[in-house]
């Protein structure tokens, strides 16, 4: 995991706001009965997520080259956290972004994206 490279989903709109926050606009998962229910009740297909300044800073570091390990080191340095604290915080954050399909992870060496 630490050696994998996070990549931003190109289908997602990442709008940087003047406040330092980032507004993420993305389509909801297009599968299964949930989509059918959404259509039935005319629920919006698109959803928004507001990343705070700290979250936006971390996303700003995702450039398709930096590994998760590099991002942990960045968080530790930028926010003056211990290695373990930044590791726990960043992995949780990456998990949240990954679950929403906002970020994918390329496993180095295989070129395989997950």
């Amino acid at each position: 995991m630490l050696g994998s490279v996070p990549r931003l989903n190109p289908a997602v709109r990442w709008n940087e706001l003047d406040s330092g926050q980032t507004l993420v606009v993305y389509e909801k998962g297009p599968f299964g009965p949930v989509k059918w229910l959404r259509k039935l009740f005319a629920a919006p297909e698109v959803t928004e997520l507001l990343l705070d300044e700290l979250g936006a800073k971390v996303v700003g570091q995702i450039d398709g080259r930096r590994t998760v390990g590099d991002l942990i080191a960045y968080v530790a340095k930028e926010f003056r956290l211990s290695r373990r604290e930044s590791e726990v915080a960043l992995l949780k954050y990456m998990d949240m972004l990954g679950r929403r399909n906002l970020v994918g992870f390329e496993v180095r060496g295989t070129g395989e994206a997950r």
Partner: protein
């Protein structure tokens, strides 16, 4: 923090009275138990590097020998017999750390190798086992001896060192850790002595973010609220100093329910801009100046 010949920076690790100096990159990864019995391990981000186990036992003949034999058996069973275990010489332990302890050194080698030190402390009645682990790399005896030689399970000044993730403080040794909350960005130690006296020590990272929302003078009110105890009377606040930093000292009478026991909560909150941290020490039901005493032991940038 000290520096070794090979320019490794060492930092203190302190947990339930056990303390030693470890390379700065080694951080607490896992913990369990309390003062009487428990376990802690530290890793370097990749591999486990230090394991500590302790157990309060009644001293009896050949206690240490028996404990090491049992440990050897369990290691060999797990490794299916492919492990070499041998006794070592604890002569590397400084004389000042040998007094009051029955010591035994050991080493083992399988997929992972370890240099270890076990002792029975007559002062605390605890049997302690500390191991420095080397996985997929040669055994660095000098490093192991540096770490093991600094290990002890109590201090002589009546205090206990709590030191993890670059945060360290000393608390009276009759205060036991009741609940640690080691969340990213906020470390909180809740210690208790008996049924009434308590101590809470906290370190909040990213202070500038928090202070944008509330100034340091607004913190005491919020901190008292978070205790979940009903305030009785007004919150008293005054300016103080902790080291080179301006601090806010506060006192609040609190009680639980109408007939609940009342107590005075005293506390100090201050910020270190260089470190971008907020520190909080609060105490109740014990010595009036406990918060001040503990706060004075916290070192920041």
């Amino acid at each position: 923090m000290t520096r070794s010949k090979a320019s490794t920076t060492f930092t203190p690790f302190g947990w339930h009275g056990l303390e030693c100096e470890v390379p700065e990159a080694w951080e607490l990864a896992c913990y369990d138990g309390a003062y009487d019995a428990g376990y802690a391990s530290l890793d370097d981000g990749v591999d486990m590097r230090l394991q500590v186990r302790w157990n309060r036992v009644r001293n009896r003949p050949k206690l240490l020998e028996g404990a090491l034999k049992r440990y050897e058996r369990s290691l060999k069973k797990a490794a299916k017999g492919t492990l070499r275990f041998e006794a070592g010489d604890p002569g590397f332990v400084p004389k000042r750390h040998r007094e009051g302890r029955d010591l035994a050194a050991f080493r083992w080698e399988g997929d992972t190798a370890a240099e270890g030190l076990a002792w029975y402390s007559h002062a605390t009645g605890r049997l302690v086992m500390v191991e420095v682990l080397f996985r997929g790399r040669g055994v660095d005896k000098a490093l192991a001896r540096r770490v093991l030689g600094s290990a002890r399970d109590h201090r002589d000044d009546g205090r206990r060192l709590w030191a993890v993730y670059g945060f360290a403080f000393l608390a009276p040794d009759h205060y036991n850790l009741e609940r640690p909350e080691l969340a990213p960005g906020r470390l909180r130690f809740e210690l208790r002595a008996g049924s009434h006296a308590w101590l809470r020590v906290e370190r909040w990272a990213m202070a500038s973010q928090w202070l944008d929302k509330a100034s340091i003078e607004e913190w005491p009110r919020e901190l008292v609220k978070l205790l979940g105890l009903a305030p009785r009377g007004a919150l008293e606040q005054e300016e103080a100093r902790v080291g080179k930093h301006r601090a806010c000292r506060f006192t609040q009478a609190v009680g639980r329910g109408r007939l609940g026991r009342r107590q005075r909560v005293t506390g100090l909150v201050w910020t270190c801009p260089e470190d971008d941290k907020v520190f909080v020490v609060m105490a109740g039901g014990g010595a009036e100046d406990l918060a001040e005493e503990v706060a004075a032991t916290i070192v920041c940038a």
